[in-house]
Subunit: 207 residues, 2 copies
DNA sequence: CGCAACTGAGAACGAGCGTTCTCAAAATTG
DNA sequence: CAATTTTGAGAACGCTCGTTCTCAGTTGCG
């Protein structure tokens, strides 16, 4: 039982898997999915086709793995943003749009992977469409958690999610991160209006 | 100069061109662009490949023609919506979201063609990316026109545009038209807040 | 040491892509 | 009517796709 050797090969396999996912994510994101063949993936990752198909039984499986990883990354970003919002759930919600602004500034930003993939594959790959739908639903649910803590009605969460989605596509197409700031300003108005409406005995501020 | 015959053939050519565009639009929209080959276009439109290439010198030219037509259709819908808004520019802005709600209800609704196409081709076809960028910019400019008439600051137009974009992708992925109503409610809040903030002493100038 | 199993890199496969070509039928012209 | 041009439908081309196969080299094990 060469356990050391086995551990080493297993570790290597995991590293190679990560390298493949890195490469696939980068190429799919920058060029679109159909435009990136398995050959290009082999060339850019340095992993042979046979190995690729050992790790992922099909291109669709690889796409799903890439999306799953992006989902984890996205969830981490959202949680980090929420953690940044210091005290109030209001700040936590607004921190999400600050996170978006930073993301939009990245050089290779080209919109939301899930939206892009839905546009390209949503009509022909139901399994992937479902995965994307679930991802977006879970983001809305997470927003709803925080919204609930503010005491505002749940409909605010849907509005805030729409702002986030719109900011992503607008920023991607326009090539600027202005949309993040516009979305943040809109979110501020929506949140404060909802909070004011929900506290009838409180004096409406904004003098 | 058989002018009658020439007119007839010209007319027929235009009808055939429209048929090709109809088919291309439908197939591209429902399946994505890369997934639809010229053969599929020939089969579904009944127009031979030679004729297709007479009408459009390349697939990219056909894609651009489809996008141009969608842009005209979109502009007509927006203008019709604005015309529906009875008196005030506020109503005109909100009517855009009613238009969206109707659109989302269509059976084959699968999001915004421009957003979908940008995700699929934006990274590799700069000419198409530019066309999409210009389309979105012109929509924002149109909203800004109406926003200006309300007397609200121009930043409101960006916020409303982001809501519209977010509603389109959200509705497409979720498969419901709820997003249109959430976006409309959010738009109402944003507009009325902007108007209230902008009218401490103002006389409304609408005649 | 010798044999069986496994690995790697890349060739190869069938299918589908965008595009062009063939060639018989139709239309046009003197 | 005969010669010429224009058209149509689809076969064909070269390429790339996702996937599988080949086969020389390496490893594991009695």
């Amino acid at each position: 039982m060469a356990s050391t050797a086995r551990n080493r090969t297993t570790l290597q396999a995991e590293q190679i898997r990560e390298r493949v996912l890195d490469t696939a994510d980068r190429l799919y994101y920058s060029r679109g999915i159909h435009a990136v063949g398995m050959d290009a993936l082999r060339d850019e990752s340095g992993v042979s086709l046979k190995r690729l198909y050992q790790l992922f039984p099909s291109k669709e499986a690889l796409i799903e793995a890439v999306l799953h990883r992006r989902r984890r990354v996205w969830n981490r970003l959202v949680e980090a943003a929420i953690a940044t919002g210091r005290d109030t759930p209001r700040d936590q919600l607004l921190a999400v749009y600050d996170m978006l602004a930073h993301w939009f500034d990245e050089d290779d930003f080209r919109g939301c992977v899930f939206i892009n993939t839905f546009g390209e594959l949503g009509g022909t790959a139901p399994h992937i469409a479902t995965l994307i739908r679930e991802h977006k639903a879970s983001f809305q649910a997470r927003l709803a958690d925080v919204v609930t803590k503010t005491g505002a009605p749940a409909t605010l969460a849907h509005q805030l999610a729409i702002l986030a989605e719109g900011a992503q596509t607008t920023a991607a197409i326009a090539g600027t991160n202005d949309a993040a700031h516009h979305a943040r300003a809109a979110a501020t108005t929506l949140i404060d209006t909802a909070l004011a409406a929900n506290r009838p005995q409180a004096t409406t501020t904004t003098g």
